[in-house]
């Protein structure tokens, strides 16, 4: 009961924040997006100030009053400065590389300054309110915020809070914003994974043992430390005035068929995990593979792009 009540309150708050102005990057923080309240320490100083005020008034002590009012001036200025520390700050965009569920998502937030100010002591606080990271004064900077992930799929982040208590820790000015996009979380690969279903797949072409170096000439690429001497393309190197290595590729005759429906495993999530592990293994071994999720079919192909397409399909499987 109470949870739903807090949930509803939270929803109301979110609606209110959204109504006040733009809340997804790119945005520039203005007074409509900046909130400010005293910190705990600010309240304490307020209490102290009241005591000083009443005492000085009662004893008709003008120097005491002057001290009190100086502290008041300090407090008011630190409120203005906390506000100023956020005002005019632009949040350009949020980005993150996909990670496997259970890993930390490294969210990169690009901020830039539109008004030539130093902005010390900014803090970004992730939606759960657990982790935070700070960035120093920067004309243009990107901030990394790590977020835990639990489930595969498209992750929609909640409000991120950007706050500052500059300059004296008396007032906390903050802004809320929602990242403009969803972030992909790949399924967790099972470990150890069952062996690749080489036999289960239909075979085309001839069987061949994979060889580390392959036989088929593929391309030339710049020489790297560790390349054996016999692979240096001396003639081409002389032409290009730089060392080039010949790269060979193993002829791939084997195509692996990975079908979500035929993977072992008690439930869908388990099967997805196993297939994910297979996909990764196939990619690591440089094999060609076909992924059939039942709804879509990818391949036969190999390489990074194919891998990412497959992982994305697996991550989003069943989520529409």
């Amino acid at each position: 009961m109470s949870i739903s009540a807090t949930g509803r309150l939270r929803g109301l708050l979110d609606d209110w924040i959204r109504r006040r102005g733009p809340v997804t990057p790119p945005l520039t923080l203005r007074y409509r997006q900046i909130y400010i309240l005293p910190t705990g320490f600010g309240w304490l100083l307020g209490l102290l100030m009241s005591a000083m005020l009443i005492g000085s008034l009662n004893f008709n002590n003008n120097m005491g009053l002057l001290t009190t009012f100086l502290v008041a001036g300090l407090a008011v200025n630190s409120m203005l400065l906390a506000y100023r520390n956020l005002e005019g700050l632009a949040i350009r965009h949020c980005a993150a590389r996909p990670v496997f569920a259970g890993q930390q998502l490294a969210l990169r937030i690009d901020i830039s300054d539109t008004s030539n100010r130093s902005r010390p002591g900014l803090k970004f606080i992730r939606p759960e309110g657990t982790g935070e990271t700070a960035t120093a004064a920067a004309h243009q900077a990107s901030v990394r915020l790590t977020l835990p992930t639990a489930r595969r799929g498209w992750m929609k982040l909640g409000r991120i809070r950007l706050e500052t208590t500059h300059p004296l820790g008396l007032f906390r000015a903050w802004s809320w914003f929602w990242p403009e996009r969803r972030f992909l979380v790949w399924p967790t690969p099972t470990s150890p994974a069952p062996p690749l279903p080489r036999d289960g797949g239909r075979q085309t072409g001839r069987l061949s043992k994979p060889r580390p170096d392959g036989e088929e000439f593929h391309s030339l690429r710049p020489w790297r430390v560790g390349d054996p001497l016999h692979r240096i393309a001396w003639k081409s190197s002389q032409r290009h005035q730089t060392l080039l290595s010949r790269e060979f590729q193993q002829e791939q005759a084997e195509v692996i068929h990975l079908e979500l429906a035929r993977a072992p495993g008690a439930d869908l999530e388990r099967r997805i995990s196993i297939v994910t592990a297979w996909v990764l293994q196939a990619d690591a071994e440089g094999l060609k593979w076909v992924l059939d999720t039942g709804a879509e079919r990818f391949g036969p192909e190999r390489g990074q792009d194919h891998l990412h397409r497959c992982l994305r399909a697996l991550a989003g499987f069943g989520q529409g």
Partner: protein, 656 residues
Amino acid sequence: MVKPVQAHPPAEAVAWTVLAFLAAALPHLLAMPGWLMLVILVLAIWRVGAAWQNWQPPPAWLRLGITLALLGLVVIFYGGLWGRRAATGLLCMMLAAKMMEMFRLRDLRLVASMCFFLIATQFLFSERLVYLAYLAGAFWVATAALLLIQRVDSAQPKPASASWTRSTLRPVTLLIVAAVPLALALFVTFPRLAQPLWGLPDEVMDGRTGLSDSMSPGSIANLYADESAAFRVEFDGPMPPPAERYWRGPVFWNFDGHTWSRSFFSTSPATVMPEAGTRSWDYRVQLEPHEQRWLFSLDYPVEYPRGARVTADYQMISRRAITTLTQYEVSSNPDFIDTPDLPQTLHNLATRLPDDRNPRTLALAAEWRERYPDDQQLIDAILRWFNEEAFFYSLETSPMGRNSVDEFLFDLRTGYCEHYASAFAVMMRAAGVPARIVTGYQGGWWSTTARYLLVRQSDAHAWVEVWLPEQGWTRVDPTAAVSPSRIREGSRVAIDQPRHLLDWDWVQDLRNRYDRVQHLWNNWVLGFDASRQRQFLGGLGLGEPGLMMIGLTMVLSAMLVVGLVALLLLRRPRARPRSQAERLWQQLLARLRRRGLACSPTETPLEFSQRVSHALPNQSGEFDRLTWLYCRLHYGTGQHQDLLPEFTRRVEAFKP
């Protein structure tokens, strides 16, 4: 079990917090018993050492034990926890105890913010001008400590290259300077209380010198070396001549052979109030706090402040002890006749003497009474005796025994005003003439430029009043008979003994000049009370402002000031041209903008130059050259600075 090692705040933040505490506590420490001061210093130094050497905090039981012991020390040294000194001593002590557990940022913040409170408590003891420097200094250090703590809290990397001036001195000073306008606005407009919310403890503290409520030989001579101000007076209209500047303080009726003290009669209110006569002195007194309740006035107060009353012996008494600078206005009538008919009981009270003391004086008085039956003649005879015999006006007196007046009149013949007053009063009483002692101040230094009379503690004086039929109580000053210059020119002239090592004329002159500043400070800052505030705001055209009106003025002026400061703080800093070439280029662009050719922010100088060439074909060559020069100067590697004169000349000559 191993405790996890706490991450201690960096030594720099700790050191600044401790420094802030010591700076705020400085005057308190100096007023403390030495042992307490030592304990506090040891704790503060321990904390700084702990920060450097990464010592762990002592265990909780030890901290509690030490804290209780410190509390005990305060109780023992101050005899309780009541009173301002004890309370501030306790505050200092508890903050020092906090040093032992000041290992988190929030503790550091607490201590740093308590420093502001500690600073404010110092002004309960003194609000003199010098403490403005203390306020500024201690306030600065406390703010700096808060700033450094905040830097640690928000994990700001310390700018490696920035100097101390840029990283600390400048931001802290700016923060405080920006706080001053609001502080001043609130100071002027915050409604003051006309009456306190609760009473103040009447306590004598710090052995503050000044007149006391009894007089014994030496008690006024002790004030001779004290050059601090007792009060300042501004006159509206005429001023009494020096010989009539007798500032009436406590009146003493009872004499035990050694000490004069007040009588029950001194506390009862006056039955006959003086009325305005032909002559009157109107003046405003600015009384330095002296922790007693009496106020000083010229004889005899006709109009006096509301919070005061006038006793039967016409002394003004405040309802509360004077613990802060107090201003009041008085109007005196010097021609009032005090008690033309003396009731018998008072007559007896004013002629009572201990029988077994000062036999030689009693005998002399009896002898002279026979020779001079008339009171006035008797008085004149005694004064003549003081004047003609070898009596000396001096500070050098020996301690007196049981028959102090005898010793003074017949053996020593050297004394300060209280000796003469006491001896004279005793002789009068022995002759059957009612007499009493009045203490107060006599004279004062008149500042011709600032037009006020400065009365110092060293002007403290004692004189006698005798009761004569028809004339009532009449002032007789035996000191005037011995040393007329004391009355005319003050004690400093009358006694050719230096008050202290630096008692030279130019030092005295410097002191007088400084007092003028202090007087202004008192007038405009310390004396700014409820009535002055009303007067001031009324002068701004607010009529006779009530509390609501003052409150409204405060809110409006505070909003105005905060608005102005906010405008200043929030205005967008414009990118300033960094070099002479850039400044000139900006001028050039401004001139072209007026011609309708604005350089867009995304345009490079060369692109812009092309556009200008199209728009102003006959000047394209000139502008191309200018652009070329600017690009060399601004984007070049610095070896083209010799082109600057040409660029300057061409920019000035260029008229689009």
